[in-house]
């Protein structure tokens, strides 16, 4: 390295590397989190110019107050049946997550990822969207599938990569795909789905369709170039798309400051692109619902995309491969000041007089039963361990779907593999 020139008059530079407010051993510290009171944030008209939303990009749309009341202009005024259904969906996601997590720990599959604490982000959005709007999720929106009544057994068979897995065991667990439920194939490559969602939305606009696209991306993943492409294309062509940044404040071991979260909010990215932007309490199912509906209405009216930051907290580890106690205080999840989305919605229903302890327990029991039954059914079709040993999937399917038709080289390789398996059986 060439020696640095002498510059005695110049100050010395230093590198700033962001650090979270607490590391293992420290007191949990959420004092930097500004939380405006529920109901305090105005609601612009969905047809308003994007700039009118920009003040909302640095505050927090909240509907449910601490007493469980829905307050302010963003209250979506949902009927009790919808609220109960959303509660049920969120509870089910949580139970499902627990069971599948345990299945991985029992060696029945290779991998699992929970969405604990983030259930409202997916479930409430699914209820706010039309059933045939297309969702481009990440790996933490299993709630979309649940809310759209995708069979639990199907989900589990994917987790187990078993004989009934419609993805033929090809995908890592949690990488669901279901076209009929408007749930786009999850990619292991972060952020790729967001500009794809914009392309899908552009196609819908090109064809004079009325369906819109919704995408989800994690706070950490917003750093990828694909996120920028998505926002740029969505803005330029006024694509009918809702881009949700799920800011759960962690990306594996890296806190959101490493993605730029120290400097401003993720919703503020919308200001930079000149598109509509909202920042929403992601643990408030009503706020998530209302913001999603607002953005969907806006998109349907050809006013283009909305970027929504869903502010939440990743309560558990990143995945079954992760131990968060290595890099943050153990109690962090429990102390998140915006609470638990399931509990907050339950409280709301109770406050409305539409729910009580007994019904809650009954629902919990029903859900536990439903999940248990589904699991038993799914396991009949095998789990990853057994798959590995006896290849219950017809292994020849390994060569299908690379192309619409099998070209000569794959045909040869298929024959080679079949011969290998025969050799192995001997």
């Amino acid at each position: 390295m060439t020696k640095q020139p002498e510059r005695p008059n110049r100050p010395v530079l230093s590198l700033h590397v962001p650090e979270p407010s607490a590391r293992p051993g420290d007191e949990v510290d959420f004092s930097h989190v500004a939380i405006p009171p529920a109901g305090s944030v105005p609601r612009p008209d969905p047809h308003a110019p994007a700039a009118e939303t920009h003040p909302l990009a640095t505050t927090l749309v909240r509907v449910l107050d601490d007493a469980g009341r829905a307050v302010g202009p963003w209250d979506p005024k949902l009927d009790a049946d919808t609220l109960r259904r959303m509660l049920r969906d969120m509870m089910l996601v949580r139970v499902y997550d627990d069971r599948m997590y345990r299945a991985q720990r029992q060696g029945k599959t290779s991998f699992y990822m929970k969405s604990t604490g983030e259930e409202a982000v997916a479930v409430a959005a699914a209820h706010a969207l039309d059933r045939d709007d297309m969702c481009f999720p990440t790996y933490r929106q299993q709630g979309l599938l649940v809310a759209r009544d995708y069979p639990l057994v199907e989900m589990m068979c994917q987790i187990y990569s078993n004989r009934r897995d419609k993805l033929k065991g090809r995908q890592l667990p949690v990488m669901y795909s279901d076209r009929a439920h408007g749930f786009f194939s999850i990619s292991g490559n972060l952020a790729t789905q967001v500009p794809q969602a914009v392309g899908w939305a552009m196609a819908s606009a090109i064809k004079g369709d009325s369906r819109i696209a919704a995408a989800w991306i994690g706070d950490g993943s917003t750093a990828e170039g694909d996120f920028h492409a998505a926002c740029t294309f969505a803005g330029v062509y006024r694509a009918p798309a809702v881009i949700n940044v799920v800011n759960n404040q962690w990306a594996i071991s890296s806190f959101s400051g490493i993605a730029g979260g120290e400097l401003t909010t993720f919703a503020a990215r919308a200001v930079g692109y000149g598109i509509a932007g909202l920042r929403v309490d992601g643990n408030d199912a009503l706020a998530v619902y209302a913001a999603t509906r607002w953005a969907a209405d806006r998109a349907r009216a050809n006013h283009g995309p909305t970027l929504i930051e869903m502010f939440t907290y990743r309560v558990e580890g990143h995945s079954t491969s992760d131990d968060p106690s290595v890099y943050r205080p153990k109690e962090a999840g429990a102390k998140w000041p915006l609470g638990d989305p399931v509990e907050r919605l339950r409280l709301h229903l109770v406050a409305l007089g539409e729910w009580d302890e007994a019904r809650h327990e009954q629902l919990a029991a029903e859900i536990a039963d439903e999940v248990r039954t589904a699991q038993r059914e799914a396991e009949k079709h095998g789990t990853l361990v057994s798959s590995t040993i006896d290849f219950p999937q017809d292994v020849r399917t390994m060569f299908d779907d690379v192309y619409a038709e099998l070209p000569w080289h794959l045909r040869e390789q298929q024959a080679q593999m079949v011969a290998e398996l025969e050799a192995k059986r001997k």
């Binding site: 196609a203 294309f233 779907d401 070209p407």
Partner: protein
């Protein structure tokens, strides 16, 4: 029938397909009002409207991703990457997404999309307007890679690519957009008008993907070529009076192995030629395939005549370019050994 150069033939392929199928849309940098820096998309926006042919932001990743989303919706997007040298920002979307969508969804989603891009050297374009990155895509399962060498094939292959239900990389040898180039850079260039393959039907027709063409029959030696190199191979055979069989692969994945094997079995000698850098180029795959499958027919090692393993140099282009001397030497070697 009209006499067309490659640009006109490609333009006609777009036109024919956009008229037949309103799911065909065209996007890319400068492809709209302007009609593309090589004018391949000229007139399409005027004819089919801005919603079907439009300029894209300078984001190759975004262009490919948007095309993927559109194809997932059910359209048949044709995306232009302005130069193949600029395809890399879109590499992740092509490799990780386009190439794997059908597989990872077990056929539930598939992507009928074409990525067109001018490639190759010979125009004094320097490092970033001359590259031949086809091998990088040939290594990726789930992608098809097509490279035409004349106007007739260009149109027919592009229509076939647009109709194909899998993602197709369509590399256009820009050196021969306006006329076949035989590598003799110091001789005048003939326009396409004088070439039989410039006779192009005005309407719909296809040239099937995965099928090579024997463009010159010969007994002594097989030359495997594509793109501009097809013309260099023909000229080199003539200039050296070699009875070479020249095969224009047209599609490199899936490659037409039957035609290759048949020819090499007959001639017993083989040279592969491409503009791309040598190490790990598609010529390596061809040489590997030929020796695997025709070993006992081979009388000499398969020779490779290729670009050198350096970035593409600007002023030294004619020392870099695999022209008739390099290919001729390889052919002599294959014959003598």
């Amino acid at each position: 029938m009209s006499v067309m150069n490659m640009i006109q033939a490609l333009n006609s392929a777009h036109d024919v397909m956009m008229a037949r199928d309103d799911n065909v849309v065209v996007l890319g940098e400068d492809v709209g009002y302007f009609g593309g820096v090589f004018r391949v998309t000229e007139g399409l926006q005027k004819k089919y409207g801005r919603a079907r042919t439009f300029d894209a932001p300078i984001s190759e990743g975004g262009i490919v991703a948007a095309a993927i989303g559109m194809a997932a919706y059910g359209l048949r997007p044709v995306a232009e990457i302005q130069f193949a040298d600029y395809i890399y920002p879109g590499f992740d979307q092509i490799v990780s997404e386009a190439g794997r969508m059908r597989y990872r969804t077990a056929g539930e989603w598939y992507l009928p999309m074409v990525i067109r891009t001018p490639y190759g050297g010979g125009i004094f374009g320097g490092q970033t307007h001359s590259q031949s990155p086809e091998a990088l895509f040939a290594h990726v399962a789930g992608l098809k890679t097509v490279i035409p060498s004349n106007p007739y094939d260009a149109k027919g292959l592009l229509i076939a690519a647009i109709e194909d239900d899998d993602p197709v990389l369509f590399f256009e040898p820009k050196r021969i957009y306006n006329g076949p180039f035989d590598g003799f850079f110091d001789r005048p260039v003939t326009p396409w008008a004088k070439h039989p393959k410039a006779e192009v039907p005005d309407d719909y027709y296809t040239v099937p993907l995965g099928k090579a063409a024997v463009v010159r029959e010969g007994a002594d030696l097989t030359v495997l070529a594509y793109g501009t190199m097809v013309h260099v191979a023909l000229a080199t055979a003539e200039a050296n009076g070699i009875d070479a069989e020249v095969i224009d692969l047209r599609t490199i994945v899936p490659v037409d192995i039957e035609t290759i094997e048949q020819s090499v079995r007959k001639t017993g000698r083989c040279v592969v030629v491409h503009e791309a850098t040598r190490t790990g180029g598609f010529g390596a795959e061809l040489a590997a395939l030929v020796q695997e499958r025709c070993f006992y027919h081979l009388e000499a090692p398969v020779q490779r005549a290729t670009g050198f393993d350096t970035p593409y140099p600007h002023s030294l282009e004619w020392a870099y370019f695999p022209g008739p001397i390099r290919l001729g030497t390889a052919m002599q070697k294959a014959l003598e050994d």
